[in-house]
Amino acid sequence: MELQGLLFWIFAVLGIAGGIGLILNRNPVYSALSLIVNFFSIAGLYLTLEAEFIAIIQILVYAGAIMVLFLFVIMLLNLSKEPKQSPFSPSVIVAAVMGISFLVIMLITFTEYTPVSEAAGDLFVFSKTETIGKAMMTKYLYPFEMISVILIAALIGAIVIAKKFNYENENKEN
């Protein structure tokens, strides 16, 4: 339990530092690298919650696939640095007010939540790959199938949107 607490604090600080780096870096590549730090520390937090399957999926899908895609697009577009914003510009003030008030509301809500004293059933069945696999094939079968439809739709949609159409040549053929 001592090691778990230590790991929790390490990953929590790393995750928040990654989040701060994401919103403060003006170079998008550095922002993306900060976000990767954040994703890895969230995977570490999943491990301290004993959710190994989710932690591995987090690293594979987020830190692996999605961030590679983001970095590819950032480097493909050859972006310039964002101009520096003054800390008192309207958007920063609005963001600070909204963020802090939201955080206060969340913290008030959390203090009112009392943890359940005794969990029902076997301890920590929730994170077993076996449990998740069975649930995916029984209770969540239709959502699981819908996910495949969503993914194929996203795949086709991305190709159609990002494809460069050559309208002049099409008109000549017609």
């Binding site: 995750g15 989040g19 969230i42 939201f102």
Partner: protein, 101 residues
């Protein structure tokens, strides 16, 4: 030290707020997208924390589906950003008034 669920909830709330502030302050469309991913991740952390707290696999399943939808959303969003860049040579969202009438 006993790790209660509150620690995880507070960490995830802080990450969510960071994502909100990033969306509201940044002007680069890709960075805004990454902030949305950060918010999705913090919600996933909450789901897993409650899933462990209640010892119920439903939260973990929901995280799985959120990840799939986030992947689809990232792909389509980046495709839109690429086609935006192709039109304007820029992805500063303040310059995008294509749908403004």
């Amino acid at each position: 030290m006993e790790l209660s669920i509150h620690y995880y909830l507070v960490i995830s709330a802080i990450m969510f707020v960071l994502g909100v502030m990033g969306v509201l302050t940044r002007r680069n469309a890709i960075v805004i997208f990454m902030c949305v991913e950060l918010m999705l991740n913090s919600v996933n952390l909450t789901l897993v924390a409650f899933s462990r707290e209640l010892n119920n696999a439903d939260g973990a399943m929901l995280v799985f589906f959120v990840m799939c939808v986030a992947a689809a959303e990232a792909v389509v969003g980046l495709a839109i950003i690429i086609s935006m860049f192709r039109n304007r040579q820029d992805i500063d969202i303040n310059n995008f008034n294509l749908f403004r009438w």
